[in-house]
Symmetry: C2
Subunit: 385 residues, 2 copies
């Protein structure tokens, strides 16, 4: 059995993996002063279907250097983008299979082997001698998020960890970055919205969608929400209205000539969000007012967006896109942390909520199957370590 | 025969028309001090096919009030948008038949009866007593352009006329506003372009397209041009290259996976222009670089624009639209005049040229047939009065 270098934390770059080894051994550094506990991690050493290529492996202790912080992970979600990353495509909060043509141009496959997961929350277990801002017991999240959160212990330098207030449920702390932050940025970055303005979105039952409803309401904005046709549409409508939705329509309700006649006293929306594509995107466009903007952040239907020439010329619509990972790559670390704190504050005040299912890390295969949709519809799965 | 009020010039609003009258008579104002010559105008009293509904009528003299200027028109083009206006749709520089769904939402039919034409150039014939800025012999264009330029004499207040330098061919003075100004604005209003940047466009043989090539070159920009497949593609390519095009591709040349491999030393374009839609718009999108913008200003193929989700999320493209008429409606009179002078200066220096065909106003029906495409492909028809 050849030696392998130690798995150092969430960024896979320092990991040199021998795929033949199921239980790698360590060539420990000679003069390590302090070591992490052994760790368990979800690892994939090739791209493919996660239930085929991802496995839970044991890792030996790693050195905690002067500036390092050893974090015992508390919780980390299985986001659709985590699944895409294992499959080999680096995509947004939603999964698309129709990206092949783009991916020829933007091959963003991450290197393997790698540890799964992108966001999460943990508790500081121990710190290196030069660490000044964190102490054992603190709750921290990787912020901006980074890869490799599906493991029990992570050792990484102090500056990647953002200390958060502990009085929030771990499942919210674990999931605050990817979805709620997407919702918050999309409400901020495209149109200068004023209280009383309306926004329209499809995919309103997604966590981003639910966050948009609640964050819009907090800002005094009205929300028009489109959901797919479903047997429990009435229940879903009620649930979204309880969150603050002003209107909720099924797609088939909108197969009429004049959708704006349905708005009643609501203003025509100036900003729209699309995470579905196809006809559902066209419905968002139909609602938008003159010179409105539609932001695409997902493509769940796997269908392209079709836009008439007149939408651009006469209606003067603007179509844009949002990708949180790109946004965060542009030196937004501090801004990201401020927003995380704001969002967790809303969670504490019970102004921001969405459905999550905590699952023990031991049951990772079950949680993965649920996240893959193999067991019908389930809330987002959050691994509890 | 009932009386009708006098046809007062280019804006149809003061025209009260009795459609039964083929030769309207006038109820002349009692105390008119000064009258225009009688005029001939192309009038339509209902919307429909221009060769069915437009006819040349004689109009009696109208009063020239204190602030009025009587202009003898010299030339005015038949733009596709003029034809659309007669047909009943108020559209951009290109003709679309696929706008019905939009037009249900934005019914912008102009009132009838009306005089055709939207831009043109004329010579001041006489002025009212309070006119200070214009004298007989001056060349003027309506700026911003306004409706009703297809007539031999127009009487309208001084402030709608912009005096221009006379040393340009009348066919350029008559056509400088709609197409060249569209090209100029689209290069200015969407992306902050720097010398050396590239733009890409389809419909490159249109007058807007030819202007984009030349205006881009003047600004030190590179242009990548897409033309439809045609038997004379080589001739067209040579012609556009003579105007300053860096690259000219037919659509079928671009049916390859990696169009950017064709760029050679040219940078990936940051801005694209689409006046075709359908597959041709997709080719513009394929060329655009990360975070590029495509501006749609026409839809000659009558097909919608299809965009993949990934174009928005990963490639971060922005899609916008441009409509000159909307731009000019937002208090741009002065800016419009400055740009007109700039563009006519380029014409004088022979830095801006495009093909036009001057046709005597007596031959209006022939010019109209050519403009309607009934006699094959012809340069833009410009009526000479």
């Amino acid at each position: 059995m050849g030696s392998v270098r130690v798995l150092r934390a969430i960024n896979g770059s320092s990991l040199v993996w021998n795929p033949k080894l199921r239980n790698p051994t360590v060539c420990a550094r000679a003069f390590s002063s302090k070591m992490s506990p052994p760790s368990k991690a979800v690892v994939y050493d090739q791209h493919g279907s996660p239930d085929q290529v991802a496995r839970v492996l044991d890792f030996p202790p790693v050195e905690i250097r002067d500036k390092d912080v050893c974090v015992k992970m508390l919780a980390a979600p299985i986001n659709p983008s985590d699944i895409n990353r294992i499959e080999g495509w680096n995509v947004s909060p939603f999964r698309f299979a129709d990206f092949v043509s783009t991916l020829c141009v933007y091959p963003v496959r991450h290197p393997v082997p790698a540890v799964g997961g992108y966001e999460g929350v943990g508790e500081v277990q121990s710190v290196g001698s030069a660490v000044t801002g964190l102490t054992p017991g603190d709750w921290v999240i990787p912020s901006p998020p980074s890869f490799g959160t599906w493991q029990t212990y992570i050792v990484k330098e102090e500056n990647v960890w953002h200390k958060i207030n502990k009085n929030v449920p771990i499942e919210y702390a674990a999931t605050v970055t990817v979805n709620p932050l997407t919702a918050l940025r999309m409400l901020e970055d495209f149109v200068d919205l004023n209280s009383g303005d309306a926004v329209v979105q499809n995919g309103a039952t997604s966590i981003v969608g639910q966050c948009i409803i609640q964050l819009a309401q907090i800002r005094g904005l009205r929300s028009i929400n489109i959901i797919r046709d479903r047997t429990d549409a009435e229940d879903v409508r009620e649930k979204l209205k309880k969150l603050g939705a002003d209107e909720v329509f099924t797609e088939s309700q909108l197969e009429i000539k004049n959708v704006k006649g349905l708005l009643g006293a609501l203003p025509e929306p100036v900003l729209g969000f699309n995470c579905v594509g196809g006809n559902s995107a066209s419905l968002v466009l139909k609602f938008l007012r003159q010179s409105g903007t539609m932001v695409t952040y997902g493509g769940m239907s796997k269908k392209p967006i079709a836009v008439s020439t007149s939408s651009f010329i006469f209606k003067d619509l603007a179509l844009r896109g949002f990708w949180l990972q790109k946004w965060m790559s542009s030196d937004k670390a501090k801004e990201c942390q401020i927003m995380i704190d704001y969002l967790l504050g809303l969670v504490r005040e019970e102004k921001l909520k969405y459905e999550l299912e905590l699952v023990s890390f031991e049951n990772f295969p079950v949680a993965l199957d649920k996240a893959l949709g193999k067991q019908g519809s389930h809330p987002k799965q959050v691994l509890k370590f």
